[in-house]
Amino acid sequence: MNRLSVNERLALNKYELDDGHPHIVVNNEVCEAECKIRACLFVCPANVYSEQDGKIVADWAGCLECGTCTVACPPQALHWEYPRGGFGILYRHG
C-alpha cells in the first residue's frame, strides 16, 4: 500500500476554514532567543510548522488542534488558541 504524504492525509480531512483568522501566531523573537531544537518542525503531526529564511512559519489551516506544539515549544513562542467556534478540523470519524 502506498503511504500518503502528510498533505495528502490532511486533504482527506474535513475543515471549516476560518479565512483571515489565524489561530496560531509564531513569535520568532522568542524562538530565536529561547529555542535551539525547533521541536515544532518534527513533533507536529500535521506539519503545520516550517522554516523559511530562518523564520518559523505556521501553515495553520491544516492544524489538527492537538496542542502538542503548545507543550513542546517555549512559553510565549506561540500564541495558540482553538479556532473560533464552529471552525477548524471537523472529524467525521474521530
Binding site: 492525509r9 518534527f42 513533533v43 489538527l64 482553538y82 467556534g85 467525521r92 474521530g94
Partner: protein, 431 residues
C-alpha cells in the same frame, strides 16, 4: 435557575462532559452543555476502545442503541522487530456476551449520540461556541464568556479536554510539561466489512484490539494500536513527547515506517485512508493531576489528566465517565445544600478517591516510567524473535534444546540475566 443564571455550565461535549450533563439534567438541574465544534464529537478523537461497564451503569445496555463499532473479544499484544512479529493472541467468547467488556467506537458518531442522551434528559446543548474565558467574582468562578456573550452558573464543569485552557486559566493547573503527555496519531482506514471479518477472523460484530510494542516506535517510548471498526480500521501510535523531542525524529516518519512494516502492511492492505487525526494523551496520571475543584468550578475527564496507558491497553473514556459520575454527585449535593464553595465541591475528590478511577491511576502510576525502558523496543523483540526462529528452524543440523536457545539469545544481545529479572519484576509491578 434564578434570573439569568443556570445551575451548571459544562464546557466540552466529550465523553466526560456529555455524561456529567446527562446525570445533572436527570436530577432536574438546569444544565448548559457548550461545545466549540459545530456538533458534539466533531473535535473528539480516541484510539478508541471504550471499556463500557461504567457507562452501562448509567445507560443500561447502551450498546443496543449507541453507535458502537464492534465488541472486542480478541486482545492481541504484538512485539515487532524491523522485519518480524511475535503475538500473544487472547480470544474469549465471554467477552462477546453482554455486558460487553469493551467496544470500539468512533468518537464523532459516539459523542454525538451521547450528547443527544444528555439533551433528551433536559440539558441544553449549545454547539459552535468556543468559551474564551472564565468570569470571576473575587476568587469564585461565576460564569463563562464567549465573544460578547456572558453566561452565569453556580458551577462550571471544565470538560474541555487534554489541553484544558480553562483549568490553566483558573490556576488549577500549570502549563503542561512535555514529560507529562504523549501524542496520539491515527488513521482511519476503510475496508469492506467482509474483508475485516475474514482478515481478523471475526464473526458478526466481534472485534479485535491490537497493542503493538517494539520497533513500531523506533526505540521511542510508546506503542502502536490497531482496532477493528465495522467497516474500517483505526490504526495509530501513542508516543511520549519528551522522548520524541530527545530523539528528534519526525513523528510522521515514525508513523510511515510503522505502517510500512510487513506485518502491519498485511493487516491494512487494500484499505483506503479516510481520515487522519491527532490528540494529546495526558499520560502522567497522578503526577500531572491538577487541583480538581475550586469555588464554583470542577475539572473532569482528560482536562483532569485522567488516562492510563500500560502497554496492554490505553484507557481514558471510562475514567472520564467515572470522573463525571463523581463530579455530578458532588454538584447535586452542593445544589441541595446551596453551597458551591471549594469545601462543598471537595466531595468530588472524596467520591473520585473511592472510585476505580483513582485506584487504577495509583495501580498503574509506574507504567509511563516503565515504558521508557529502551529494551522493550529493541532488545526484547529481537531476542524473542531469535528464540522463536531457532525453535522453528530445521536445517539438517542437530537441534538445540530450548534452554540452550534461550541462553544463547540472552548472550547474543546486549543484555544480562539481571536486566531480564529486573525488568520482569518492574513490569509485573508497573503493568
Amino acid at each position: 435557575m434564578s434570573g439569568d443564571k443556570l445551575d451548571v455550565i459544562v464546557v466540552g461535549a466529550g465523553v466526560a462532559g456529555c455524561t456529567a450533563a446527562l446525570l445533572l439534567a436527570r436530577q432536574g438541574l438546569e444544565v448548559a452543555l457548550i461545545e466549540r465544534g459545530p456538533f458534539p464529537g466533531s473535535k473528539n478523537l480516541s484510539g478508541g476502545i471504550l471499556y463500557g461497564q461504567v457507562l452501562h451503569q448509567i445507560i443500561p445496555d447502551f450498546w443496543d442503541q449507541a453507535p458502537i463499532e464492534r465488541w472486542i473479544n480478541n486482545h492481541i499484544v504484538t512485539f515487532l522487530t524491523d522485519t518480524d512479529s511475535i503475538s500473544l493472541d487472547y480470544k474469549t467468547p465471554s467477552f462477546s456476551q453482554p455486558p460487553y467488556n469493551a467496544v470500539s467506537v468512533l468518537r464523532s458518531r459516539f459523542d454525538r449520540w451521547l450528547a443527544e442522551q444528555a439533551e433528551t434528559a433536559g440539558a441544553i446543548l449549545i454547539p459552535g461556541i468556543k468559551v474564551d474565558r472564565l468570569l470571576r467574582k473575587e476568587n469564585r468562578i461565576i460564569g463563562i464568556a464567549a465573544g460578547q456573550e456572558e453566561m452565569f452558573a453556580d458551577v462550571i464543569i471544565a470538560a474541555d479536554g487534554a489541553n484544558s485552557f480553562l483549568a490553566q486559566e483558573a490556576g488549577l493547573r500549570q502549563r503542561i510539561p512535555e514529560e507529562h503527555v504523549a501524542i496520539g496519531i491515527k488513521e482511519v482506514i476503510a475496508l469492506p466489512r467482509e474483508v475485516i471479518e475474514s482478515r481478523f477472523r471475526l464473526e458478526g460484530n466481534e472485534g479485535s484490539a491490537y497493542s503493538i510494542v517494539g520497533s513500531a516506535t523506533q526505540g521511542i517510548a510508546g506503542g502502536g494500536f490497531l482496532y477493528t471498526n465495522r467497516e474500517s480500521i483505526s490504526i495509530g501510535l501513542v508516543i511520549q513527547l519528551a522522548d520524541l523531542i530527545e530523539h528528534r525524529i519526525k513523528i510522521n516518519d515514525i508513523f510511515d515506517q510503522f505502517l510500512s512494516h510487513p506485518w502491519i502492511a498485511s493487516l491494512i492492505k487494500g484499505g483506503k485512508v479516510v481520515e487522519y487525526g491527532a490528540h494529546l494523551v495526558p499520560e502522567a496520571g497522578l503526577r500531572m493531576m491538577p487541583r480538581l475543584w475550586m469555588d464554583g468550578m470542577l475539572v473532569i475527564g482528560d482536562a483532569a489528566g485522567l488516562t492510563i496507558n500500560n502497554g496492554f491497553w490505553v484507557r481514558g473514556m471510562d475514567l472520564a465517565i467515572g470522573s463525571a459520575i463523581a463530579a455530578s454527585e458532588a454538584v447535586i449535593r452542593s445544589y441541595q445544600n446551596k453551597d458551591f464553595s471549594a469545601e462543598s465541591l471537595a466531595f468530588y475528590g472524596q467520591k473520585l478517591e473511592k472510585s476505580f478511577v483513582m485506584a487504577d491511576l495509583r495501580t498503574f502510576s509506574r507504567a509511563p516510567h516503565f515504558m521508557q525502558n529502551e529494551r522493550l523496543y529493541t532488545v526484547y523483540p529481537q531476542m524473542l524473535s531469535e528464540i522463536l526462529h531457532q525453535i522453528y528452524q530445521q536445517d539438517a543440523h542437530p537441534h538445540p534444546p530450548l534452554s540452550r536457545i534461550a541462553l544463547e539469545a540472552v548472550r547474543h544481545n546486549p543484555l544480562s540475566l539481571w536486566d531480564v529479572l529486573k525488568d520482569l519484576w518492574n513490569g509485573g509491578r508497573a503493568l
